[in-house]
């Protein structure tokens, strides 16, 4: 009797051309152009992992340390490339650990496929070991999800799922496959056309509305363009720039719009909203036409809605019709891909300038900025967060080929404010969901997508302690191009800041201890640097950049620095605090 090695020839179809469901999933992923996926195996997904081994030359699997890390890594990959990120988990806790990244991808319209194993169909609904109703759980946070129990459905479902994830307004789609469906065999049919009746991703541009919008915008005295995530997602930066330059209309961005328009441009005003600049929020309150392209008027952008842009007629371009009119009443709402709309606007937009308006905004800026403490560091020998951001900004001006992933909290806002952003898909952050712990795994995904670039993480000590285990993944996968700057202030800083400003400095549950971060880095087998003096920041960043491997820099910054300006939650964006005691 001859023994056949267990893996041999498994990839080849059986004599009848049949394959297992698990092999079909792999094959379908290859057909969708997937080159990498992030995951952790477990009982119910084992058939898939068994089959995956045969496809290891076509699809790289990155074993993460926690499913949340796998999900965020898929997001980081997707956000930097524009392609669909793929993450894998087993049933039960594996699947529920993916819930946070799925919710994050949902809020930030990130194309993602989550594949989860499920208990065998016969055991569904019996509270079997590691059974969780993950399709039920993820209904409100996915574009769509599938519970696949029949091997015949797999090829089609994967195809449809990828189409949904990347079409229209992108987002996460979950495919839950029972173990028996992964094990069963069939001859896959790849030629079944998609059958999506009345599908919402398809939209015809209303050219008449675009022409009216262009006329309204260009005819305005004090117009503003607000660029959101949609501009980045649709790859419309060039069109946006062309429109701004031709018409002379100044551009502001949302947090996710950062990078859509170069901030070094004379027409760039910067970010608006809760932590936007004073002159930008003022411009919104004074403008007569506000053109929001690809943004969704998040409450961090609008502040108190009834007081937002009171003099403005609103033009809103969004690919998702349910966003139009959701928050603010629009004069002209256009359901369109941002790039399609901007291209169409360029057909009729006349050349012009808005110098008087721009001068007024710049005068406002000049009047305010010198008095704003947040723009300059106080006279102190202590390492201020501002020193770190100034050093990082200098480094980003010296180097090319980098992307930055930020986490959530004070450092995220400082990074948005104090670093000059220039290119789309280089500022990656968790915006809508505000997921602490996003940055390190997301950087892992970005680093694998762009192995020739340097991926910087900016993270607080709170977020760092949530997902730093993915540094071990970087080491195992030989990822060398991630540099992590920890803005370590020993607090959950943004909450502490709110407690200081609005709750009588009652620091309830915000004081945070932690390990010696540079030693922890060394324990992971990567380089750790500790920086405690302002004069050491530049050198630390430069040496991290030069080092051929991951580096973690522990910046021990002033513990109670604040992010200013700040609009208190729920208040008008006219009401901007520029110090703990003064308004703009």
């Amino acid at each position: 009797m001859t023994l056949t090695p267990r893996t041999a020839a498994a990839k080849d179809p059986g004599a009848d051309g049949s394959r297992t469901g698990a092999q079909i999933i792999c094959e379908a992923l290859v057909r969708e152009g997937v080159e990498i996926m992030f995951g952790i195996p477990g009982g119910a997904i084992m058939p898939f992992y068994h089959a995956m081994w045969e496809y290891r030359d076509q699809i790289r699997h990155v074993l993460c340390r926690h499913e949340q890390g796998a999900g965020h890594a898929a997001e980081g990959y997707a956000r930097t490339t524009g392609r669909v990120g793929v993450c894998i988990a087993t049933s039960g806790p594996g699947a529920t650990n993916l819930v946070t990244p799925i919710a994050d991808a949902w809020m930030d319209s990130t194309p993602m496929i989550a594949i989860t194993g499920q208990v065998s169909s016969a055991a569904l609904g019996t509270d079997a070991f590691q059974e969780t109703d993950i399709t039920g759980i993820t209904v409100p946070i996915t574009k769509h999800n599938y519970l696949v129990q029949n091997v015949e459905d797999i090829a089609y479902v994967v195809k449809e799922a990828f189409y949904l994830a990347r079409s229209g307004r992108p987002g996460p789609v979950l495919i839950d496959v029972t173990k028996d469906a992964q094990q069963a065999r069939t001859i896959p049919r790849w030629d079944r056309p998609l059958r999506l009746p009345r599908h919402k991703s398809v939209c015809e541009l209303d050219r008449g509305a675009v022409e009216r919008a262009t006329a309204l915008l260009c005819g305005a005295q004090r117009p503003l363009i607000m660029a959101g995530n949609g501009v980045v997602q649709s790859g419309a930066s060039a069109e946006l720039r062309a429109l701004a330059e031709r018409t002379g209309i100044p551009v502001i961005t949302t947090l996710h719009g950062k990078g859509a328009f170069p901030e070094s441009h004379e027409l760039s005003l910067g970010m608006s909203g809760m932590h936007g600049w004073v002159h930008v929020n003022k411009a919104i309150q004074e403008c007569d036409v506000l053109f929001n392209v690809g943004g969704r008027f998040d409450d961090r952008v609008t502040g108190k809605v009834s007081t937002f842009a009171p003099r403005a007629q609103i033009i809103h371009v969004d690919i998702d019709p349910s966003e139009i009119g959701k928050v603010v009443p629009t004069s002209i709402g256009i359901r369109a891909d941002a790039r399609a709309a901007l291209t169409c606007m360029l057909e009729t937009a006349p050349a012009g300038n808005k110098l008087e308006w721009l001068d007024r905004i710049r005068a406002n800026q000049k009047q305010h900025e010198p008095h704003q403490a947040y723009r300059r560091r106080p006279e102190t020998p202590t390492l201020m967060p501002h020193d770190v951001f100034a050093s990082l900004d200098r480094a980003f001006h010296r180097h090319t080929g980098y992307r930055v992933v930020t986490d959530v909290g004070q450092h995220q806002m400082w990074a948005a404010q104090l670093i000059e952003w220039g290119r789309p898909r280089t500022h990656i952050t968790s915006g809508g969901a505000g997921t602490m712990g996003f940055s390190i795994p997301a950087a892992l995904g970005a680093a694998l997508a762009f192995p020739n670039e340097t991926i910087w993480v900016i993270v607080g000590d709170g977020g760092f302690q949530m997902t730093n285990q993915e540094i071990a993944t970087m080491v195992q996968e030989d990822v060398r191009n991630v540099k992590i700057a920890v803005i370590n202030n020993g607090y959950l800083g943004m909450v502490r800041q709110w407690q200081e400003l609005f709750e009588g400095a009652r620091y309830s549950g915000t004081k945070l201890s932690g390990p010696d971060i540079s030693l922890l880095a060394e324990a992971y087998g990567v380089r750790g640097i500790k920086v405690e003096r302002p004069e050491d920041a530049d050198e630390a960043i430069e040496s991290a950049w030069a080092h051929h491997g991951p580096v973690v820099i522990d910046f021990r910054v002033e513990r109670e620095a604040n992010v200013f300006p700040i609009v208190p939650a729920g208040q008008s964006i006219s009401n901007m605090m520029v110090t703990a005691t003064a308004n703009a």
Partner: protein
């Protein structure tokens, strides 16, 4: 029912859904998320195979956003708020009343409303009525003095008068097939390069 502002307090929404497991959960989840109460929900197969028609009555002044978000669901073919449209609305009720010596009076009430007597048991009568929600409500009130033992209602179903506004067959044949299928990794990479274009 009107509020002081003149807006109807309840809305009637008619939707066409693909007849898949879980589709009702997705639809209802959007209302639950907002804490909207569903006054009634009736769903069943439509005239077209694979399509269900749902009538939803929601106790809420403004349902525009929820209608838009229902529309976003993959398996939802069409959603309309028909509150202000000319519609025919019907409900079916089964009601069991205590019937002792007053059977004759119950029968005359039933006949007056065009109800049928579905069953007569020991001391009970089971009546069946189809009618407008207002008529059904009135019928129940008229019966209540006899002693209502049990009542069950189907929930409201609604249809807009006149021309066919919701042809399920038409919607189902409005397919998208223009999908990027089975692209090679090379194609994707070149697309990604386009997306990442530098400036």
């Amino acid at each position: 029912m009107k509020t002081s502002a003149g807006f109807p307090r309840t809305h009637t929404i008619v939707a066409l859904l693909q007849d898949h497991p879980g589709v009702l959960h997705r639809a209802v989840s959007l209302l639950r998320r907002r804490g909207y109460n569903i006054a009634s929900l009736a769903v069943g197969r439509s005239e077209t195979e694979g399509v269900s028609r749902m009538t939803l009555v929601v106790e809420q002044e403004d349902v525009e956003q929820v209608v838009k978000q229902l529309n976003r669901l993959v398996e939802v073919l069409q959603v309309d708020d028909v509150t202000h449209d000319p519609t025919i609305e019907r409900e079916v009720i089964l009601v069991k009343v205590a019937a002792g010596g007053n059977m004759q009076s119950i029968v005359s009430v039933a006949l007056g409303y065009g109800a049928t007597i579905a069953d007569v048991g020991m001391g009970t009568m089971l009546l069946e009525l189809s009618g407008s929600p207002a008529k059904v409500e009135e019928f129940l009130q008229r019966l209540s003095p006899f002693g209502i033992l049990e009542a069950t209602r189907t929930g409201r179903i609604a249809m807009v008068r006149g021309r066919a506004t919701h042809s399920a067959a038409e919607l189902m044949s409005d397919l998208i097939v223009a999908a990027p299928i089975a692209q090679s990794p090379e194609q994707w990479l070149s697309q990604a390069d386009g997306i990442n274009g530098t400036n």
